[in-house]
Symmetry: C2
Subunit: 317 residues, 2 copies
């Protein structure tokens, strides 16, 4: 193990938020030594429970997460929040929101919030989120909440690393969301109907139940449905209870380790892919990629044979 990061790791373990921020930056931005840092931190992980929360823009994720954070703080559990919003690369909205939200919890070092707005290069966002969660875990946080926008493949990849996944819906989204909801069914351990004082909450609940009747989960868990009004705290207690209940179910059925193994199967493949991709990029430096692309675009070379040739080269490098 490299000794370079020992001081950082020491203060990170003592719970120092600034060391946590620095370690996350190293890992998130792939600064020199990031892999060594993760290797050193890994043996200290496994303590934190990871909660994933996803929902469309405007579903009230941040407010809900903040309410949960306040609740868990009252139980003296330390909280780390990773807010992932890949849809807003331009506005910097996530960063701004981050600062506003941080003010709320500014006096409490037991809550640490980190926003990730980077759209990420090829498949990078889920991987980076997982690595940032690893750092938070190693820092001794009891609970990590990952909140993410929407339900694209990126988001599915991201929430997959959570122990418990909460999908947040709101009444009045209309019929057009039906197709999106279908994709959600497989990842939700708990459904939240937020802004449930709005008209249509009952209808959303009926829709969820109807969809549930179509699909049986391999772990035989029937996701609970909790109604909340996050802005005034209504239903937060019930949501906490539902989370606890699902965690107890996982424990009782011995599913925690199994879930973790399945998760690592996916992650190892992704890490392998990223690592190989890095080698591929190395092969393509110094304008070689542009030259190849020009040959293919000009129909002077077929890309399928070309890629085979490059792969052989990488294997030998």
């Amino acid at each position: 193990m490299s000794t370079e990061f020992q001081p950082l790791i020491q203060s990170l373990r003592s719970g120092d938020p600034r060391s946590l921020a620095r370690a996350i930056s190293i890992v998130e931005n792939r600064l020199p030594g990031w892999a060594e840092l993760l290797k050193a931190l890994f043996p200290q992980t496994g303590h934190a429970r990871i909660l994933g929360l996803t929902g469309a823009p405007g579903a009230g994720k941040s407010t809900l997460v903040d309410q949960l954070a306040k609740h868990y703080r009252k139980e003296n559990r330390t909280v780390g929040i990773i807010a992932v919003d890949p849809t807003s690369p331009y506005t910097g909205g996530a960063i701004l929101g981050d600062r506003i939200r941080m003010q709320d919890h500014f006096s409490d070092p037991g809550i640490y919030i980190r926003s990730m707005a980077t759209r990420g290069s090829l498949g990078g966002l889920a991987r980076t989120t997982a690595d940032v969660a690893t750092v938070m875990d190693a820092s001794g946080r009891d609970l990590i909440m990952i909140e993410t926008v929407g339900v694209g493949q990126d988001e599915v990849d991201i929430v997959r690393l959570a122990d418990v996944t909460v999908v947040i819906l709101v009444p009045g989204m209309g019929d057009d969301v039906q197709s999106i909801k279908a994709g959600i069914m497989e990842i939700a351990d708990i459904f939240v109907i937020n802004k449930s004082d709005r008209e249509g909450a009952e209808r959303v609940e009926r829709e969820i139940r109807a969809l549930q009747s179509l699909a049986i989960r391999s772990d035989h868990w029937t996701p609970s449905i909790v109604k909340t009004v996050a802005s005034d705290g209504t239903g937060i207690g019930e949501l906490v209870a539902a989370i606890t209940e699902y965690e107890a179910y996982l424990q009782k059925e011995n599913l925690v380790l199994q879930h973790s193994i399945e998760n690592w199967q996916e992650r190892l493949i992704e890490m392998l892919r990223d690592s190989l991709l890095e080698r591929a990029r190395d092969q393509m430096q110094d304008g070689r990629l542009a030259a190849y692309a020009a040959e293919v675009a000009g129909h002077k070379r077929d890309p399928y044979t070309l890629v085979e040739e490059i792969v052989s080269k990488i294997a030998k490098s």
Copy 2:
């Protein structure tokens, strides 16, 4: 070149829809010989213009695409349509819609529609869509339309391979879509406000203009905004004119080849990644992946060192 596919390639080039369907199935499902087939077809590509159309569920994409198809058929151009909907793996909605839509054009072999609803394995959907477009191009279609749901990273990857990208919006989606719209700005060559007879069309237009004033494209093109009511054909002529105008702009500024080279830079990297990933999966067969994952989940081994070790093995294989 393999001679196995010569009869198929011959009838494919003569425009036979059944050969086209078979060739697409081979490529889409990675049936034996798919790579050989693509290699053989590639020299015959480059003729088709590729149009990408994207928008949220319910924006009226299919109707708009069908109207465009009818228009181009009147000009005697042959059309291929690839309908990508990764959000509905359960419902089979795309397949059903496919059949209904096919009936509409059943008597016209000049229109070929193919739905792809597969969520795809790691990063696979954009790649497969590109390969299917290659087959359609080689079959002599003049115009290929790729329609895709939403604006996640998957969709951005998919439309990137289009020569012209049309983003479809509808009035009355509310403020919550602002964040999604921001992500759209960079990929839209043309905006369509569909269902423009609804209240709020002017407002959507104002919002697009406001966003446009914030970002200048590297090619200095200002995307046009076309209002349509696809269901009754209103504005389709204007949309066709806007597409023609942008294509003329690309020609005039010599941007076609440049665009293609940039596109191939991305695609070559993706193809390389997929090819390397395949090698990685080979390394992980026979339960080896599950065994590794169990070691990591049990904290007996750190995943970062493990992946490095596997990569070294792959390089030597």
